[in-house]
């Protein structure tokens, strides 16, 4: 187990506010609905944060690791949902794929895949993880370190595989690979 984790090199993909290489303490935590928040936890960190900002003044580039904060930017949820209906361009249906603990996102074209097994295999390869087997009742079981979830048009996070493929194709806004334990709650419905 430990060896697997060190092979994954989780520290390198750990999400933080600083540039890679700087050793800021990790500031973000995942909430159960998959949205990351970077709430400040103590006065000390806020001071570091201000210092950090001043350092970044010197860099013209923006911070590479994008942290998603609860309720920011201040756009009401009914507006976010409205825009979910728009696909990106005439060609593929590109959706972002994020993974718990990883700093960078990937993007895939859902139209390339014809069914769930193809999609899941591609994701497992891309993120070097395994989902195990999908079961309608229990979600992903039998060797599943991770589980694939997606955000649908209503803004809800769902387990990949529950709805027919065609419905999934039009409802899926983005994908997120979560730890098996996080997905347990979803699978038990």
């Amino acid at each position: 187990m430990e060896k697997y984790e060190s092979e994954l090199n989780l520290k390198a993909t750990e999400l933080r506010l600083g540039l890679p290489g700087s050793d800021e303490p990790e500031k973000s935590s995942c909430t159960s609905n998959g949205v990351r928040s970077n709430k400040r936890s103590s006065p000390e960190t806020s001071e570091e944060e201000s210092v950090n900002k001043i350092d970044h003044e010197q860099d013209s580039a923006r911070q590479p690791a994008k942290v998603q904060v609860v309720g920011w930017p201040p756009v009401r949820s009914y507006r976010k949902n409205v825009l979910a209906a728009h696909e990106n361009g005439d060609g593929g249906k590109y959706v972002k794929v994020s993974m718990a603990g990883a700093a960078y996102l990937r993007k895939i074209d859902l139209k390339v895949y014809k069914n769930y097994p193809e999609l899941l295999m591609a994701l497992e390869k891309m993120f070097k993880c395994s989902f195990g087997e999908y079961s309608e009742r229990e979600g992903y079981i039998n060797g599943s370190e991770y589980a694939p979830t997606y955000e649908d048009k209503d803004g809800d996070w769902m387990l990949v595989g529950d709805v027919p493929w065609d419905m999934f194709m039009c409802c899926c806004k983005r994908l997120r690979i979560v730890k098996g334990s996080e997905a347990k709650g979803l699978g038990c419905l």
Partner: protein, 583 residues
């Protein structure tokens, strides 16, 4: 007239002339006063005027439902016909307030049913409303005319069905921006065949299909219908059939604007819009692309408000449309129009007073560039009458904002959201202090300000020094320490609402406003550096304030992560859930 009341003095002399006025006359005169501020002033003149005012008042506005109780309200104002109530703190719109926080309308309705049986209007914003409450409302007030629910949650379309079924005199049904459970569209069919009084119908944010037949019949028989805003399920073809039945509309929200039309359908639709000569307000246009916008052109001449915030148009589409809208005063768009679209706004809309640019892609990146500082300046060059702006962008400069307000010094509402928290001027890498400094120095009439970007204490020094008319301030991810908030608390005499998130303001900052909070509606501070000790101190020093801390799981008990402070004559909340600590 003989009906002189007992209060009239028999020996009136110059000094007593005010009280020699019969009460009915005084009440009659005061009933013509509509402004709440005027009425407040009137009620302070003397006891007679206080009484005359309270008897003659028909409408009451309560900005914070916990600042007063229904009992106190009904005791003071016995003849109210219209109530406007606001509930949750505004940051609940952005998921910062946990569910089941409160602001439930039911206890108010129970008292109103007893004390205001002739209630006609109820307008709620950010309140929790259940289906049971809606049914209770529908059955308790026989004269009920207008229901407006903005950003409310807790009810479903079943509640709407109860309203449609029972409110025989309904004139207005307005459901905006809500979190309701849309079970089915059948509620619309609950309006009885005999029902003809509707003037305003807005269900634009509901999802489900409604029975189009029932809607058509409703529209046909409600000859006074002025406002119709349908939802996405209504196609262009169905819209055409509605429009021909209601050419008198002044306010229209279309459904989906992306159906494939035959030539005949297109020309029928064009004719339908052509007959809508009275349209002042147009919204909806869900999923609209440039293709069919041309049907709108004949109806745009008298448009004063155009809401394109659900249509992913590009700059060219927008430009072609705006040419036909010379009288536009308010425009809402998505940032898909980009700077090019904003240049068109500057060119074609010289009467523009309000502009809102919403982000099409608030969390993702790289899908489109959105709008920048150059579009911002372009608008201000052409639209000198602007006084309200809401602008979401990914990059901004101090120079652009300075130019913007120099072009349009009459701003009353300035809300700029640079979407990356704590981002400096992208050209000079300096803080955005000078930008907001320019805003407050130049715009002396400024009432509302939302700041963003990388800001130091200097921004708040400027605000405290210059923003003398500021009433509402929203701050996020800004400031260097307590001093910033202190400047604002000590410098802005008219401040009423202050909402702060993720700023390094601590107990000293909180307590610097001690004297001020009673003159304000509310203060919200989340993810700052407040502790329970600071909050308790505030609560102890100012017993007429409600100081509430929202506890979150997994946080240190000594911290106060979410703090809500507000004045109240009703005392501490009695309906607080376990996660809200009332100090």
């Amino acid at each position: 007239m003989e009906c002189k009341r007992k209060k009239e003095l028999p020996h009136s002399n110059g000094l007593n002339r005010a009280t020699a006025f019969p009460d009915e006359v005084l009440e009659r005169v005061l009933s013509l006063l509509k402004s709440h501020k005027d009425r407040s002033s009137v009620s302070l003149v003397c006891k007679d005027w206080y009484n005359a005012e309270r008897w003659s008042r028909r409408h009451v506005f309560i900005g914070n439902c916990y600042s007063v109780s229904p009992e106190i309200l009904t005791r003071r104002f016995p003849n109210i016909r219209s109530v406007t109530l606001k509930g949750k703190p505004r940051f609940s719109d952005f998921d910062l307030v946990p569910p089941k926080w409160g602001a439930d309308i039911h206890s108010w309705l129970v008292v109103f049913a007893k004390e205001y049986p002739f209630l006609e209007e109820l307008r709620l914003k950010r309140m929790s409303v259940t289906d049971e409450s809606l049914e209770f409302l529908a059955l308790s007030f026989p004269n009920f005319k207008a229901l407006s629910l903005m950003s409310c949650d807790g009810f479903s379309t079943d509640g709407l069905a109860a309203i449609a079924t029972n409110c025989k005199n309904l004139i207005e049904l307005d459901i905006l921006e809500h979190g309701i459970e849309d079970k089915s569209g059948s509620w619309l069919s609950c309006f009885p065949e005999s029902f003809t009084s509707l003037e305003v119908l807005n269900f634009a944010n509901l999802h489900n299909d409604v029975h189009v037949d029932a809607l058509e019949k409703l529209v046909s028989r409600c000859k006074s219908l002025k406002t119709l805003k349908v939802n996405k399920s209504i196609t262009l073809e169905q819209l055409q059939r509605l429009l021909v039945r209601a050419p008198q509309l002044t306010e229209l929200g279309t459904g989906s604007f992306s159906q494939e039309l035959t030539t005949q359908q297109y020309s029928q639709l064009e004719n339908a819009f052509n007959s809508c000569k009275n349209l002042h307000i147009l919204s909806g246009l869900f999923e609209a692309t440039g293709q069919y916008l041309s049907v709108l052109y004949p109806a745009c001449t008298n448009l004063t408000f155009l809401n394109l915030s659900y249509a992913t148009l590009d700059g060219d589409d927008l430009a072609k449309l705006l040419v036909h809208c010379p009288n536009l005063k308010r425009l809402w768009v998505l940032d898909t129009v980009e700077d090019k679209g904003l240049e068109a706004v500057g060119s074609y809309c010289p009467l523009l007073e309000e502009l809102r640019v919403f982000p099409s892609d608030p969390f993702d990146e790289g899908i489109n560039d959105g709008v920048t500082e150059s579009g911002f300046v372009a608008v201000s060059n052409g639209c000198r009458k602007l006084h309200y702006v809401l602008y979401f962008c990914r990059q901004m400069t101090n120079a652009a904002v300075t130019t913007f307000v120099q072009n349009c010094p009459d701003f009353t509402h300035f809300r700029l959201c640079i979407m990356d928290p704590g981002q400096p001027d992208y050209l000079t890498h300096e803080p955005m202090d000078e930008a907001f400094g320019a805003v407050v120095k130049t715009c002396s009439k400024l009432r509302r300000l939302s700041v963003s970007g990388f800001l130091t204490d200097l921004t708040f020094e400027y605000i405290g020094k210059y923003a003398k008319n500021l009433e509402t301030l929203s701050v996020a991810f800004a400031g260097s320490g307590d001093w910033g908030m202190q400047c604002v608390m000590e410098g802005c005499p008219k401040l009423r609402k202050l909402e702060i998130r993720d700023c390094p303001f601590g107990n000293a900052a909180l307590l610097s406003g001690l004297e001020k909070y009673e003159s304000m509606r509310s203060l919200w501070m989340s993810d700052c550096n407040l502790t329970m000790i600071g909050c308790r101190t505030l609560a102890k020093e100012m017993p007429r304030l409600n100081v509430e801390v929202i506890k979150e799981e997994g946080t240190d008990d000594s911290q106060a992560k979410k703090v809500y402070v507000y004045r109240s004559v009703a005392g501490p909340r009695r309906d607080a859930p376990p996660f809200v600590l009332t100090l």
